[in-house]
Symmetry: C2
Subunit: 223 residues, 2 copies
DNA sequence: CGGGGTTCAGTGATCTTGTCACTGCTTCGC
DNA sequence: GCGAAGCAGTGACAAGATCACTGAACCCCG
């Protein structure tokens, strides 16, 4: 989860016709296929946004750091998705206010801003593609506000554990990582996890959490 | 602040050419001028979104209610602005997830969904108009997440007091209203206000807060 | 292989915020 | 003028955040 900090994306080839066009629209004339290793920083607060980004494989974690240094994960951009923040920066012409970090090796497509604008102008299909997930994302941000403001920590933690496990029986991350997921503090997460362990729901070891009683966690996560 | 609960907007006239076109684009052929009294509910969670809304005068407060009944103000739509949530619902075809309430009498313009889509398709200027503030709003939502997750309550309260006072020396609202602004609880706000009063920064009376030491509040709000 | 630095996890003390239960005061409608 | 509803204040306690510190596990390097 915390990994090598080699920044910047790698241009793969200058133009693009070998590559699948996930929009099916041929707006991708100027698009470049890009690749980034796990841990790469795609953008940071203050970065100027110069291209529309589309993930074709992998996962980018978008998170925010407060002035006091605490962090929270806002959302993830996964295979087939694009990033609200990027889109909004392009449309509004402002700078990034958060940080995007590759959680896996990531393959993607970058469309330079001017070409993106043209696409928006000229292609109804591309427009639809761009704005499709947009509404969904806004709704997700509002849900996040609700959870952060009103949600119980143990409930949110149980949800995240199940989510991050991706159906596996164990997940490899530190308590600090989970604290960032939830926008909470490491000690608080540690205590909640210890509590789960006392209930027999999980088993804790350094850098790893084994899920022993998934149904119990699901019960907590739902209600 | 809490006012009459007469719902629904009033159609004013069926078509629109007497009215200023704030987009300057003539996309408003099918638009209707609408009017709503203070306290009117423009939309609720679950409402289907059938028209693009633009405020020409007044203020609409958009807020969310958690399952436990606690509420938080997400943002306000003011003169010349339109509502992110409405736009995202139109583009994504989903339902409202929050509530919009008129804080003043509100004049506005409504563009039916089909016409809105046409406008987006055909008019670059209208498109620009629609997406202009959009990026800004997303950034605001992320700031809100930051504040809710990491901000101190007394700091946030001081900020809101100054904001809601609009330069006046007093503001008329209940402690409960302020709790909703901040997504907090009434008792907590009451205590923080009492604390401000002990410092001599404000004077409290039923339904009213007088700001006595604005500089002190500003100091707290900034730092 | 061993030693030393670093990362990770656990814990108590204390502060802030949220929740619950209840009180008394004001306001408003009848 | 009376009763109901709304508003504000308060104490007790729970949940979460912060601070300071401990020890264990891991990694690198000689």
């Amino acid at each position: 989860m915390t990994a090598a900090q080699k920044p910047h994306w790698t241009r793969h080839f200058p133009t693009l016709d070998q590559v699948d066009d996930p929009t099916g629209l041929g707006v991708l004339a100027d698009a470049r296929e890009i690749q980034a290793p796990e841990g790469a920083v795609v953008f940071r607060p203050g970065s100027v946004c110069e291209q529309y980004l589309l993930v074709t494989e992998g996962s980018v974690r978008v998170q925010q750091t407060s002035s006091s240094g605490r962090e929270i994960v806002l959302y993830r951009v996964q295979t087939g998705e694009s990033c609200v923040l990027t889109t909004s920066c392009l449309l509004g012409g402002n700078r990034y206010g958060a940080e995007g970090i590759c959680e896996t090796q990531v393959n993607g497509i970058a469309i330079p801003a001017p070409r993106f604008m043209e696409g928006i102008e000229s292609s109804p299909g591309f427009r639809r593609f761009v704005f499709q997930g947009y509404g969904q994302r806004i709704a997700e941000l509002m849900t996040l506000i609700d959870e952060v403001a009103f949600g119980r920590l143990n409930v949110r933690l149980a949800q995240r554990l199940l989510e991050l496990a991706h159906g596996q029986d164990a997940l490899h991350c530190t308590h600090q990582d989970l604290a960032v997921e939830l926008g909470s503090a490491r000690e608080v997460v540690s205590r909640a996890l210890k509590d789960f362990e006392r209930q027999g729901w999980v088993h804790l070891s350094r850098g790893q959490i084994d899920l022993l009683d998934r149904p119990a966690l699901e019960r907590l996560a739902k209600g």
